[in-house]
Each structure stands twice: as C-alpha cells, then as structure tokens.
C-alpha cells in the first residue's frame, strides 16, 4: 500500500500520531532519495527540485488539515503532495513519464495535482499558486464549505507581485486561507539576505493586515501547532494568517546547481538540524516511540517507496495519441480543420 490516509492531529499527542508524522517525513525523504537516484542513473528526465531537509513543514502543515482542505504547492512540491496523502506509485509513475502517472506523463514533477486529497497542484511558476489558493478559499466561503486553503510557497515567491495581490485579496475578503512560506534561505541562488530588507518574512503580513509568525520549520510539532492556530482562525471567519517556516534545502535548487552560492559548512550545519532526527529525539524523550519502533517506521517507508518504484516501472510509457484530446475538457466544439 503506497497511499496513506491523511491523519489530522498533534504529532506529539499520541504514539499513533508520532508514528504517522515520522512515517510521513520518512516517506517524503525516501521518495526524494529514490527520485534523485533514478535521475542520477538516467532513468528519469527533465529536472527535479528536491525538498530533502524540509520534510517537517509539509508534514506539520498537512497534519493540521482535513482531507477536504485544499492546498496549492510549488515546483518543490513532492513533500506537500505526499503529506496531503497522495499515492506514491502514481507520483513516481508520473516522474517516469508513464501513462499511469498522476498527469499521464503530461505534467511531470512540477504539475502533480491530486483532486482526491485536495491538492490543486504543484506549480512551475514561482508564486503562481498563491492567487489560486485565494480563489479556492473564496469558493469555500461562497459555498459555505467550511474548508480552508493553504498556499505553500518559498521565500522567493514573496517578492513576486502574485504574493502581494493575493495577500491583499485574502485580507480584504477575510478568506479562510493560510499563506505558508517555506523559507529555505534561497530563491535558487539568491539568499534571503540579498533579496529582502526585513528581518523576518512574516513581517510582511503587517502591510496587509495579516498576522504573521516566524516558526522553526524543522520542528514538525511547532509547524503543526502554528498551522492549527491559523486553521482555527480561518474557520472562525477571522481571515488569513501568514506563517513563515524557517528551514533549509540540503540539495541544490535543481540538477544544474553547483552550490557556488553557499558553503559546505553551512549545509553541514543545517544537516545537524535534520527535522527527522530532531523529531526522533523528541519522541524518544517523550517515550512515544522506541529506537526499534523508529527503525520500523523507516523500514516501512523504505518498503513503500521501493514498492512504488517497482510498480511504477511496470507502467506503459505515456501515449502521444491522447494529447490533442487532452487540451480541453469535453472537447465538443467543431474544429473543422486542424
């Protein structure tokens, strides 16, 4: 089984929750390690944006959501997708360009969406998903659905006009939306120090009348708690919240990255703040999981990913025959010539 049903709740509230949080983070990491390996061996093409090191933000945020709550994601979106409950086999199949992939090979890594789990899609455009999340929240409000929308975006997106316009609309319409900035320190190669003249990115919320909070993005329990409060505010009709989760991406921006803009020491320093190791310490201290249980969780994640890769490999390559008919839904118009 490569699908997990989203579990809502505090990662530290019970052994079951702790296990789920650790399993989710581990599944994200193992999946991305497998993806990196497949790319390295030339079995996947295109590009990839790995979120290794950032697993706690995706996991903590999604543990504060219901399946019916919606998310928009980013080019670095594998973690959000997994944490919201996506099927690993369909994800890998998509990356392998298989007909059985989430997008039937038409989208790849940057365009996976999963309607069943409320994932409105990763996005290849920095900031592109933020206004879309605002619209999802608007629909929720107009239809009295009682759901929230979460927009994941990186620090780089906060300098896009899309962030500005979306944040303002969310605020003036008091929409049930949570703006989740995963501040991993770099927009590709430009550091937040060079790209911002403010101390914390959460301060930007003030300019829109949106409360903003800066939280340790590598502490899954803290991420969960901040998101839980933001969800409660949204569902109470109090409007949007901006959450800045400070984290770090261990891998380069994409395959072309030679890490010229940062030091090995910096990367190593952040590896000591590994969100998975941090959580393991926490659950050991709180007697939620033993060493044996922790090892079992990782073994389970590994087994799921291996299974997903093997299953995905069996798929047939995406078929070009269906492409023209895939552009429009219900192509019923009469295109006489082509």
């Amino acid at each position: 089984m490569t699908t997990a049903v989203l579990k809502t709740g505090d990662p530290l509230a019970s052994q079951e929750n702790a296990r789920y949080a650790l399993l989710t983070m581990s599944r994200i990491r193992k999946l991305e390690e497998a993806v990196e390996d497949l790319f390295g061996r030339g079995m996947m093409h295109g590009t990839m944006h790995l979120s290794i090191g950032q697993e706690a933000t995706a996991t903590g945020v999604c543990m504060a959501l219901e399946v019916s709550d919606q998310i928009t994601s980013t080019h670095r979106g594998h973690g959000h997708c997994v944490a919201k409950g996506a099927d690993l086999t369909s994800m890998i199949a998509e990356l392998l360009g298989k007909e059985s992939g989430y997008c039937h090979g038409r989208g790849g890594s940057m365009h996976i969406a999963d309607v069943a789990t409320g994932n409105l899609g990763a996005n290849g455009i920095v900031g592109g998903g933020i206004p879309i999340a605002i619209g999802a929240a608007l629909a929720s409000k107009m239809l009295n659905r009682g759901t929230v929308a979460v927009s994941f975006f990186g620090d780089g997106a906060m300098n896009e006009g899309a962030f500005h316009e979306a944040a303002n609309l969310a605020a003036i319409w008091k929409l049930p939306v949570i703006l989740v900035c995963e501040n991993n320190g770099y927009g590709m190669s430009s550091s937040t120090d060079l790209a911002f003249a403010i101390n914390t990115l959460a301060e930007r919320g003030l300019g829109y009348g949106i409360p903003g909070f800066t939280v340790d993005g590598n502490d899954v329990a803290a991420v969960y708690e901040a998101t839980r409060i933001a969800v409660a505010r949204a569902k109470a009709g109090e409007g949007p919240t901006l959450l800045e989760f400070v984290t770090y991406r261990w891998k380069g921006h994409s395959r072309s990255d030679k890490n010229l803009y940062r030091t090995k020491e910096e990367i190593d320093e952040w590896k000591k703040k590994d969100p998975i190791l941090f959580f393991e310490h926490l659950v050991r201290d709180k007697n939620l999981l033993s060493d044996v249980e922790i090892a079992e969780v990782h073994a389970e994640a590994t087994a799921q990913v291996i299974h997903a890769v093997n299953e995905a490999m069996k798929g047939v390559p995406a078929d070009p025959a269906g492409l023209l008919a895939a552009v429009f839904k219900d192509l019923d118009s009469k295109e006489v010539s082509s």
Binding site: G107, I132, G135, A137, L138, F328, S333, S337
Partner: protein, 332 residues
C-alpha cells in the same frame, strides 16, 4: 417574442443575469463592476439585483483577480472576470496563460477551469496605445484557451451563455465601440446559446468572401451594402470564435467566390488573420482561388491618440470597399 433591439452592453448583462439565475455558482468579479456598474456600464444594475458577493468589486489587481477566479473555478464556481481594458490582461498574463490555460492538460485531466474572462478591446475611443489594443491573437496562440469575439448584441448574448457553460477558460473580447450600438438583428428574450466554434455566414454574394471578426464584421457588412449598389456582391463570414476555428463555411464560400479577403483590427504582423490565410493556403479550397488573398489589418503601430491618426491605424468601411472593388475588378 418581441423584436427587441438591444445594445451589446444590454445583451451581455442579460446573459450574465440569466446565467446567475440558472446557476448559483456563477459570479462576476472585476474592477468597478458593482455600484459603478462597470467602466463601460456592462454590469449595470446587476450589483443591486444579485448583491455584492456575486457581483464582486475588486481592488485594481488584475493578476490577483484572475488568479482568484482560477482557484474558484477549480473549486466548484463559475467565475466571470471583467477586465476593464483588454490591455490590462498583460498584468494577469501568468494566471491566464501559465495557469488557467494549462491546468487541465498539465495535471492529466483531473482538474478543469470553467472561467470566462470578458475584456473591453479595440480602438476608436481616443484612449491611445495602452487602452485600445486588439490582443486576441495572443490568446489564440495558447492551447487551452477558447477565444470568442462577438460582433453584435445578438451574438454577444448567445456566445456569452455558451462561454459560461463551457468547462474550459474562455477569453471573451468585446469591442468597446459595439457596447452602445444597437445591432442589426433583434435579441430574443430569455436564454439561447450560440455554440462556440461555429462560423456564421451573414450574407452571401458571388464575388468575394470576406472573413471578419468583431467590429470588422459590421464594417464588412456596411461595405457589402455599398458595393451591392455597384454590382459587386460580398459573402461575409464571422468566425465568432477564433479558437476553436470553424473553417468549413470559409472553404465552402471560397469554392463559390474564388476570392478571399480577411479583415481584422489587430496589427497585421503575427495577427490571427494570418492563420485563416494559412489554413486556406494549406487546405481544400486553395485550388479555387482566382486572386491573391487580401489582408486588411491594423497598421503595425501602437494605436495613436489623435482622431485622424487613430482612424488611419485600423481598417475602415472605405478601406474594405476599395480593396474589395479592386480585387474583384483586377482578378476576373
């Protein structure tokens, strides 16, 4: 049914009101569309009839507005976005081109974007280069968008109702000179739908096939009236939607007339009319052509301000008349 002669603004408003009565998920958002009634008065009293939730005034924020509409469309709503001047779609291009147009395809069909983007297009109001463009060709070159150009109040109402029904993003380009002019034909009360992707033959004449869009349709019709008195007979075809494009009636007409003129307000270079000509050049009607195809389009310049300059920049009735007369006389 009474013979009602409406303006295009009235016809569009009627279509939106019908759609909002039919479907609770239809709503309108845009700048100054509420109490103000729209920059060109198209939404008019809809705010008072349907309330501020469904006739939703927005800040001046085109990217945000279109993005919000995309998200709402993905989540069960059917938004109609009004963009005050089609030139401002440039502000919203990411959401139109990279998001709305591609989501259904990119994600493998699991999501779709039933969104209508209405925009006031075209020159003739003295608003100069940033408020007068005809940008339909931009959108026609993006797979995933349907592009509609109504040429009259009757067409506008029926096409807009179909656009709202459509499960895909539809760009609806309204020529602002048409807003206040009553059409040549009556607009029925109640709902009727004109399918997207069906060209209309407005009149048939043996000498020349004229394909025109938007305001150029009425100019072509006026030219045809004039030329008829001289014994030159035009067929006038309005494709109504340029994406998808229904070439069938165009081919059929060329077989009868042997001559083709394509008229658009947009600049000639890279313009949509070239696609019509390319399809003719590579299609079944080529062998019937007796004369070189006539291209009549806007000059390759930004729309200028002074009235005589503005008029010179885009085809007028007299241009259609003289070019039509010429091609029919020279190629017998």
């Amino acid at each position: 049914m009474s013979e009602r002669m409406l303006t295009m603004s009235e016809a569009l408003r009627e279509a939106m009101a019908i759609a909002m009565e039919e479907r609770p998920e239809v709503f309108i958002l845009g700048e100054d569309i509420g109490i103000y009634g729209g920059a060109f008065g198209v939404t008019g009293d809809l705010y008072h009839r349907f309330g501020s939730e469904r006739v939703r005034d927005t800040p001046i924020s085109e990217l945000g507005i279109v993005g919000a509409a995309v998200g709402a469309a993905l989540s069960g709503m059917r938004p109609i976005v009004e963009i005050q001047f089609s030139d401002f779609t440039a502000q919203a291009m990411d959401q139109i081109v990279n998001q709305a147009a591609k989501i259904h395809f990119m994600v493998g069909g699991g999501l779709h974007v039933p969104l209508v983007l209405r925009a006031a297009a075209g020159s003739g109001t003295g608003a100069a280069a940033q408020h007068s463009q005809s940008l339909e060709g931009w959108f026609a070159n993006v797979p995933g968008l349907k592009v509609v150009i109504p040429s009259s109040p009757y067409e506008a109402k029926g096409l807009l109702l179909s656009a709202i029904d459509d499960p895909n993003p539809v760009i609806f380009m309204e020529h602002k000179l048409l807003y206040k002019i009553p059409g040549r034909e009556a607009v029925p009360e109640g709902a009727y739908r004109i399918p997207l992707g069906v060209s209309r033959v407005l009149r048939e004449g043996q000498d020349l096939t004229v394909v025109a869009t938007g305001i150029m349709v009425s100019r072509a019709m006026a030219a045809a009236d004039q030329l008829e008195k001289e014994g030159v007979f035009l067929t006038v075809i309005d494709p109504r939607t340029i994406s998808p494009l229904d070439m069938g009636p165009i081919y059929a007409s060329i077989e009868k007339t042997g001559r083709l003129m394509v008229v658009q307000e947009a600049p000639e270079h890279g313009g949509f009319l070239n696609e019509v000509i390319a399809k003719v050049a590579t299609g079944p009607a080529l062998g019937y052509l007796l004369a070189p195809v006539v291209r009549l389009a806007g000059m390759n310049i930004p729309i200028p301000y002074a009235p005589q300059l503005e008029k010179a920049a885009v085809p007028q009735v007299e241009d259609i008349v003289s070019r039509a007369r010429e091609v029919v006389a020279n190629w017998r």
